[in-house]
Subunit: 414 residues, 3 copies
């Protein structure tokens, strides 16, 4: 990391994008077609699909826009890896989950599944925010989508996990993949507060905009693929109650955890969303609103406590730098949700099943498997990302739009 | 108001939030459950419900974000009191309007009703913007939701007002509650232009974003709870036409009312929305688009004239400081809508009813009752809010995020 | 253009708006009514209609907000001409396309058509951005909506073009109308880089917000009026794939076309949307996703290459100043889409038709006619707009909000 100039992306980025895009179009040409007869189901899920699309393209993009000199990259590269990742996820999904005869049929639900899968990449990108260049992000997106689809396929095929549940592993997978990858991009200077790393009130307000979009449309995220009407209604309502409680609790916990009772904006962003993450698995099955509310409360607690404690005590020891706190926003609440799901499963099935041991083992094994694949694949990918070939950025150029974007106006007075 | 330090919220805010939230969860535990069989109706209103949710969470939050040093509090506390208020409104709604046998059943329409009810609180918060701390806002939300639900119950139970109409009283109720409460928080320094009180171009642009979201989704607000297809279609269309005209007229009136023909952004924010407010009551019953358009034109006029005249002549006399002009945006257009509704009622029912006196009296009585309860409850609440116990802010700390939010960067250069 | 003061709009703007609005209300009074029996179709298209409304009101408004001192005018005047234009488009639509007996019936689909028609005006306004005052913009909106409706009527009536296709001519029409009109507002000083003309990072971020809203909801724009379920599904999916590819390609092309491999935000804004424009005509008929993807790739190429080459070589020669690059964003991709549509038409109908010459001639003639009417009407309108009567702005006051908006705070530190 000797050079203090940020390397030009001109030789690498366009070539990589064009090769991938040409490959995608060729694969689509040879292997994919629309369903001949469109079910009306396709159009029924369109509004909820749009909600999920808004979350992925706009919500995540602006959620990450809190760094004062990194707004272009946060929103722009989010669009880049989301759109590229969705195409790739469609292909992976098509090959792994379709019947082998003839061309793969794609429909709106398959695009919705691809969009949810790609959330894993966007979460991981949150940990690498400001440190990885677009070439690295694209490689990460390719590997991560493939690994997540494979993990999902193992879950569905061998552990007989339901497809919707397998998709909701996306938060856990994305987090641990991202954390493992960010270990390789760690630099000692990151533990000191770099000025550019900081937010300013305006960039935080843009981030609030993204947070609110995620908050508002999360019930669609947790319910878009559910077909049964009652389960869908429950998923929407439970997610809504859980997020309501976690938004409220975020303010209390943030004020409580600071010395002078002041609230930190970053806690609000993290903890309000934790409720929705925690509900991912169990939203359609929770029979009473109060259970969802308690889960939301716990998730919010975990997010704020994690942000206060882990960031100071654990991260420097493990040499992890998690730019936007994905561990507290998505990882820990996701684990909480997985555990809650197992407990709920035990309670609900208690009477009806003769032996609980085996199904519970499967449930637990399923999310531990996902975590393990995420950590492993992330670790390997992180190593791969450090190759000089990808025009890695020197640490002094981290968190700065000027490494990638042309500014006609030199004075960069955000 | 001697101390020049803003008191720490650490002892008050978390406690209050946790007590309320625990109480809510317990009440949900003992008294609430989902409908056993989900009607498909639930899912049919989901897109429109989302629109209303966007208005309440994002629209109001950013509409209020026009103060240059108060963006965090505007958007953040809006989220806080909206989510807390919706839970409380669900409870009030459940107890007052449900049949007494067994547990209260909640569904998506009941959440929609709660979301609309909570608009009253957000409107009142507009008058107190920058002057009330989160503890005061939470207390206000609790009292106001209860008072509004009670007022609605009286209207529905005794005056036989339709439920949808009773909900549309929300603008009038919120405005007069807020104005009465703000009388108690008046401080002589507020009449002078405080620098922090001012907007800057960027904060106004965020406010424009909120305004546009409110503008675009207002047809959903006026129609979400209507079941009859033709009435629903009319409510959507009429609201749309009225808001179109009031947006156009806002530009003309603003240019006309300034000396050099320049347009004020604040007029655009206020007057474009006035059309939607004025249509609240009568949107489903107006048979021709031109009537809606004339109402929109009148509402826009009232909003701009009110803003120009009342703010200078009336408010200082009454010792009211209405930070974001809710009186002109929601109050007066709401009254216009109520009066128009009565006139329309007389015209439509002229032939079919033998005696008009009594029903008209009921219509008039209904919105006068709402106004009276709003003013009374607001006045009492305002007095209650001045207690030192709630860590009231000294007037010198008004309109400043730094009283509540931690800024890692001290230079607050919005 | 001697005076260096920006003329007051007080005498002109309010009068013009009130005369138009009064005329509109009177025409609505005499000639328009709602459909007596509401079809449920009306409510079915409501969510997609809302998407289109968000694109027109919020998407275009913020897309144009990239000039650092012109954010109020970009978003505000966009709202003004959109709302005024939609009313006028409803009237034109009603008179030209309705059966002559009795009052014209309006429904939600007719409002959707009017909203799509008005896009032409918003595109043209992009070319004049910062140079035309609201009076000029309103006149332009009136003439352009009338001309576009007439052009559409000729296409539908004589060339037997389908109504949906005729509406999708809106991009081509708007572009060439706007370019022709902007020829008259050209000033030699515009070719030099004026400081005020520049963007700054924050205004670009607002523009990114608008771009993302346009990107996300474009599938609704291309499908809202289609009734057939399979065609609607195809239109949504094809548009989505095309825009995905053009977003990805935009990054590659922008990095490739700059010397040091840096990406220009303006390219991202323009090229990501090009895919949706190119799909306008053929979205419902494209049978395979890869065709849509290739079209998206080509459109993105054209947008970036156009932006790099035409702006430097062609525009100064033709004395055209195209503030926000509508020629590359909407015009050229629209032409590409029209040509692709003809080719697709030939391929699909090859076998089934005995003679292809005549239908192909009609298809080609139809979009050439639209272009010609657009250029002609724009040229005449541009001349008309230069009249001193409309309080034209001196070129030194271009690109500045202060010409129209009252700033309570003089220091305009965006």
């Amino acid at each position: 990391m000797g050079s203090e100039y940020s390397p030009s992306l001109r030789s690498g980025l366009p070539g990589l994008i064009f090769i991938l895009e040409t490959a995608f179009i060729l694969i689509f040409y040879f292997c994919f077609s629309y369903e001949c007869q469109s079910q009306s189901e396709d159009l029924t899920i369109y509004p909820a699909f749009q909600d999920v699309s808004v979350m992925v393209i706009l919500g995540f993009g602006f959620l990450l826009a809190f760094l004062k000199r990194y707004g272009f990259s946060s929103t722009g590269f989010n669009l880049l890896i989301a759109t590229l990742g969705i195409q790739w996820a469609l292909l992976m999904e098509g090959f792994l989950f379709s019947s082998p005869s003839g061309k793969v049929k794609i429909s709106l639900p398959s695009v919705a599944k691809a969009t949810i899968s790609v959330t894993a990449v966007l979460i991981s990108a949150g940990a690498l925010l400001g440190k990885a260049n677009p070439i690295q992000l694209i490689w990460m997106a390719m590997v991560e989508v493939a690994a997540f689809s494979a993990s999902r396929w193992i879950n569905v095929q061998f552990l007989k996990v339901e497809e919707h549940t397998s998709l909701m592993h996306v938060h856990i997978f994305g987090t641990y993949f991202g954390l493992a990858a960010s270990w390789w991009l760690y630099h000692s200077s990151l533990s000191k507060g770099v000025d550019k790393k900081k937010a300013n009130p305006l960039s935080e307000l843009f981030s609030m905009l993204g947070t609110l979009f995620l908050w508002m449309f999360w019930p669609s995220f947790n319910s878009v693929l559910i077909v049964d009407v009652t389960e869908k209604r429950n998923a929407i309502s439970n997610t809504y109650y859980a997020m309501g409680v976690s938004a409220v609790a975020a303010f209390a916990l943030s004020a409580l955890s600071s010395r002078d009772g002041k609230i930190q904006m970053i806690h609000i962003h993290q903890a309000t969303l934790a409720g929705g993450v925690a509900l991912g698995f169990s939203a359609p099955f929770i029979p009473y609103p109060w259970i969802a509310m308690i889960l939301g409360l716990l998730a919010s607690n975990i997010a704020v406590l994690g942000s206060r404690c882990l960031e100071i005590y654990l991260n420097p020891v493990l040499k992890i730098h998690d730019t936007c706190g994905i561990h507290y926003t998505f990882g820990l609440p996701g684990l909480l949700g997985a555990i809650a799901n197992v407990i709920l499963f035990i309670i609900i099935k208690w009477a009806s099943l003769s032996s609980l041991g085996y199904p519970v083992l499967i449930e637990v094994g399923s999310f531990m498997l996902t975590t393990a694949i995420g950590l492993g694949a992330g670790f390997i990918t992180g190593f791969f990302l450090t190759f000089k070939l990808w025009k890695t950025l020197p640490a002094s150029k981290y968190f700065d739009d000027q490494a990638y974007w042309e500014f006609p106006h030199l004075a960069h007075g955000f």
